[in-house]
């Protein structure tokens, strides 16, 4: 079962990493197991739950539906990359904290990345926009009420300039 390995460079949260993986290595597994960036979670591995969402050149993408070898030449942002340079929480993270937008925290990285991208498109969302923004991610714990509140609060914190 020896597999052909591929050398590639992934740029994650502004840092370039060299790695050697088989063609079938999922991006989610490469991030978690090869690079040790375990903030990206895998809840279904079939593209439905959204827990594994990362940003590729700023756009939310399910890393369980993509091979690592196809993620070259893009900037990948994972949840680890959402914290400010000085270590404080980013607006979206801070909003989830304030609004109790998480319980077990397993779905949270996918929501944080999704909302980060969503607010860039829609800096001043209405409640309906906020619901739309998170409508592709599953959470089993929170019942979503506080997640929607978090989105609105994040927009407020970012001052419409997310």
């Amino acid at each position: 079962m020896s597999e052909q390995l591929h050398d590639l460079r992934l740029t994650v949260n502004g840092v370039a990493h060299a790695l050697r993986v088989p063609a079938r290595r999922l991006l989610s597994d490469a991030l978690r197991h090869d690079l040790g960036l375990t903030g990206t979670h895998v809840g279904c591995e079939h593209g439905v739950c959204g827990a594994c969402t990362v940003l590729l050149d700023g756009l939310p993408t399910r890393s369980c539906l993509m091979f690592a070898v196809s993620a070259v030449d893009v900037d990948i942002t994972t949840v680890e990359g959402l914290t400010e340079a000085d270590g404080t929480l980013g607006a979206v993270q801070q909003a989830f904290l304030e609004c109790h937008g998480l319980q077990c925290g397993f779905c949270t990285p996918g929501f944080l990345t999704t909302v980060t991208a969503g607010l860039r498109q829609h800096p001043t969302p209405t409640e309906d926009d906020a619901r739309d923004m998170v409508a592709g991610n599953l959470c089993r714990c929170t019942g979503y009420t506080n997640i929607v509140r978090s989105v609105l609060r994040a927009a407020e914190l970012a001052g419409g300039e997310a």
């Binding site: 197991h33 439905v48 993270q93 109790h100 998480l102 089993r140």
Partner: protein
């Protein structure tokens, strides 16, 4: 005096980690080179004899380290897994083997175990194992199990694992003598907990010290520890089980051990390498556990006021292929069905049946959603028969506030009497009617009807036995830095324990909230514990932590009093500083911690500061006979019986006259879990519970075909709600009737949200449809639009005029 944190909406301390992507879930442990990965070959058939397993194509594969089938297991590992909670009524309990021996009884049952360099290779290897099966007919669903023309286990007659009857009074005689009687047949389908993180286990064996460390995503670390020690023939003292962050449990992670929780440590010891197993989503659907599948028959007798004089319930519980968790679920249904009511006489009997489907263990609510649904549908039926208001009929049956403690005359799941500690059901009902606008609804309905819209309202009441024993413990340790380390043995799956427990400690000890660090589910820190289930964490560990912190405080005050040459009664502790009230004299808690340990080396500032104080009688040993070094408190809490939280939900729904789509216009909750430690967290629990309840009432079911294949074993096909299915608002009101059973007056809040959902939706949807389809009764949950559509077709009694009005006036 610092403000009390009890009752405050304190933001969660654990969130910092989660928000930065620094949560530590089991699959995040031992990441990187050197860790080996396991995969499991699972049965593709629901019922078959295994005649041969050929692992020849796998043994020599590059990167594969180990392949096991049942034949490779020896000693206790080769025995069936434990039956955790035996019960005399469970006359035919059966459990699976860690790896199937000769026979499989559901799709997904573990047959072979492979360890390889990574999960991809392990799955490749699993795919090369050849198994020869002799197919047997499958028993799927309660009807097939009851028919018993095929058996799941050859030696279990009639597929009946257990039959249990309880009676308080003579229900059948009371019904026979009642002025009115009714009978109902009510069904609930299977669903499942479905945490977003599946099961996972990592194990590492350290041969130098002869210790096994297991990280596992469980609701009971101590339970897994005992199981691993017993099956691997290790001393309990050689096994540490650590439960790091857990991505949701909802019941499914209480079963222990799962086969992998034994196989992974065994492989780690044999290979001398760290081994990891992470379940994938399909595996979770077909090899973890489900719940809820029950069929019920009710006979009830009542008077003109709707007062229940006699209630006789018979039900059949589908427990799947095995019974590792005993009869907990059906016992809860049979007892908690009574809710806030006191029938004149009550008899209940259930049969727990085998089927060739995934086994059943408690799922959030654990048998209560079914019980609540049965009782509340009965109340609705009585109201309909008498032409009375549904709320009024309920009120006529309530236990009154001055009747507590109230003994229901039954034995509860913990083997104790079913005795409610406190509550005020009439007050709850008044709040709920107000919150949902119960009395204004007829006018709203009329207004909607004018617009061609169908709306209905429903309500449902429940009582939930929470905080079950037997005990939990806690250890509180004040470090010389003044930081306070707290350990309790039960686990955490997102309920905010690190925050609420720190609130309790900061209140008792007078230290800064930020200085408290809470560890849960680590047997190295607290080896005596039960687990997190049955809404017991706040009641059990909360109380234990309160007691342990009180001990630490007493010791701190005793030592500080001596150091400050003051009386204990004159001392107070604020922000981690003990001071003599009204004077300048003070000492830091950290310094007190130094003084508590007569080991005079100056490691840090606190120890330097301590040199100015002298404590202890120079004429006596440095550690007195009845004392011990260190500023610590340890205690256990073990209550006589469960607390009983309660609540009521109401919903207003709209049903589409054409498509039969059901939408939620308003959802209201009145909730009484005693005193609230952190209202923000309690509300979060209610939100999540309500969402799971809506899911169970309208969407989620396990779709098995007749051969026992689960047709919807993915998130694509199992309809777990997104935000789009959940109402934008849930109106919540609290009532606080403190429990007299624990020092904090609290009851549990974890499951309440899901309990009344099937009942409340059945009530509201029926109410919406009744004017148009008289006789249409909702008796099976969940209810989908197509099922409602079909029910309408089967009850076409609608006056033609009314129906056409629907069409014409649709906006």
């Amino acid at each position: 005096m610092t403000t009390k944190l009890f009752g405050q909406k304190v933001q969660r301390t654990e969130d910092q980690r989660f928000l930065r992507g620094q949560g530590r879930y089991v699959d995040d442990i031992a990441v990187g080179v050197g860790t080996l990965h396991a995969a499991v070959l699972r049965s593709p058939h629901a019922h078959a004899r295994i005649t041969d397993i050929d692992v020849g194509a796998v043994l020599d594969l590059d990167g594969v380290h180990l392949v096991w089938t049942h034949d490779d297991l020896t000693g206790p590992m080769a025995d069936p897994l434990p039956l955790l909670i035996p019960h005399p009524a469970l006359t035919h309990g059966r459990t699976q083997f860690a790896l199937a021996k000769d026979e499989v009884n559901h799709v997904g049952e573990a047959i072979a175990f492979v360890v390889a360099d990574d999960r991809y290779l392990a799955e490749d290897a699993v795919g090369r194992i050849r198994v020869t099966y002799d197919l047997l007919p499958a028993v799927v669903g309660i009807d097939a199990a009851r028919a018993a023309d095929r058996l799941v286990h050859d030696d279990v007659p009639g597929n009946v694992g257990a039959r249990l009857e309880q009676e308080n009074g003579d229900a059948r005689a009371a019904i026979a003598a009642s002025p009115h009687t009714l009978s109902l047949d009510l069904t609930v389908e299977r669903s499942a907990s479905m945490p977003l993180e599946g099961r996972g286990t990592v194990a590492r064996w350290d041969p130098d010290v002869g210790r096994m460390t297991v990280w596992t995503s469980t609701q009971t670390s101590t339970g897994v520890r005992a199981a691993v020690a017993a099956r691997l023939e290790l001393d309990l003292g050689q096994v540490d089980v650590v439960t790091p962050d857990v991505g949701g449990g909802f019941g499914v992670k209480i079963n222990h051990p799962w086969p992998e929780e034994l196989l992974v440590p065994l492989a780690a010891r044999q290979l001398g390498r760290t081994v990891k197993f992470t379940e994938d989503r399909r595996e979770h659907f077909i090899s973890s556990a489900h719940e809820r599948g029950q069929v019920h028959h009710v006979e009830v007798g009542y008077d003109d006021d709707g007062r229940v004089l006699g209630l006789d319930v018979e039900f059949w519980h589908d427990h799947g292929a095995y019974t590792p968790y005993g009869l907990i679920v059906p016992i809860i249904t049979s007892t908690q069905l009574l809710g806030p009511y006191k029938p004149g006489a009550y008899r209940v009997v259930f049969e727990s049946l085998y089927t060739n489907t995934v086994m059943v263990t408690p799922y959030r609510g654990a048998g209560r959603p079914q019980g609540c649904y049965v009782m509340e549908r009965t109340m609705d039926a009585i109201a309909a028969a008498l032409g009375k208001d549904r709320a009024e009929v309920r009120a006529a049956n309530f236990i009154q506030p001055d009747e507590f403690p109230f003994d229901q005359g039954l034995v509860f799941q913990d083997g104790r009497e079913l005795e409610y500690d406190s509550g005020d059901y009439p007050a709850s009902l008044a709040k709920l009617k107000e919150l949902v606008g119960w009395d204004d609804f007829p006018a709203f309905r009329e207004e909607m009807a004018r617009q061609g819209r169908r709306v209905g309202i429903g309500l449902a009441c429940y009582v939930e036995g929470t905080g079950v024993g037997p005990y939990e413990g806690a250890h509180v340790h004040v470090e010389t830095s003044g930081k306070v380390k707290v350990a309790t043995g039960l686990t955490t799956q997102g309920q905010g324990h690190a925050t609420v427990f720190a609130q309790l400690v900061a209140d008792v000890l007078g230290c800064r909230f930020e200085d408290v660090e809470v560890v849960t589910g680590d047997t190295r820190r607290m080896p005596y514990a039960v687990g997190t289930f049955a809404s017991r964490a706040a009641v059990m560990s909360g109380s234990a932590i309160h007691l342990a912190a009180t001990r630490a405080r007493e010791k701190a005050l005793r030592i500080a009093a001596e150091a400050l040459e003051a009386s204990v009664d004159d001392l107070e502790i604020v922000d981690g500083v003990v001071s003599v009230r009204g004077t300048e004299a003070s000492i830091d808690l950290g310094t007190v911690a130094v003084l508590s340990n007569p080991l005079r080396y100056a490691f840090d500032e606190a120890s330097k500061a301590a040199t100015q104080f002298s404590v202890g009688d120079p004429g006596k040993p440095p550690v007195a006979e009845d004392d011990e070094p260190g500023l610590e408190g340890r205690d256990f809490y073990s209550p006589e019986r469960s607390t009983f939280a309660s609540g009521m939900h109401a919903v207003i729904v709209e049903t589409d006259p054409e498509t039969a789509e059901i939408s939620i216009l308003k959802y209201a909750v009145v909730h009484d879990c005693g005193r609230l430690i952190n209202p923000m967290i309690v509300e979060g629990q209610i939100h999540g519970g309500v969402a799971q309840g809506i899911a169970g009432a309208l969407y989620e079911r396990m779709a098995y075909d007749d051969s026992g294949q689960l047709l919807n074993a993915s998130f694509m096909d199992f309809l777990m709600p997104y935000v789009t299915e959940i109402p934008a608002r849930i109106d919540i009101d609290h009532l606080e009737t403190p429990s007299p059973l624990n020092p904090l007056g609290i009851k549990g809040a974890g499951e309440a949200g899901v309990i009344p959902s099937a009942a409340v939706f059945a009530s509201a949807v029926s109410d919406a449809e009744q004017p148009y389809h008289p006789g249409l009764a909702i008796t099976a949950m969940p209810i989908s639009p197509s099922e409602l559509f079909d029910l309408r077709r089967r009850h076409p009694a609608t006056p033609v005029a009314q129906r056409s009005r629907d069409h014409e006036e649709r906006p």
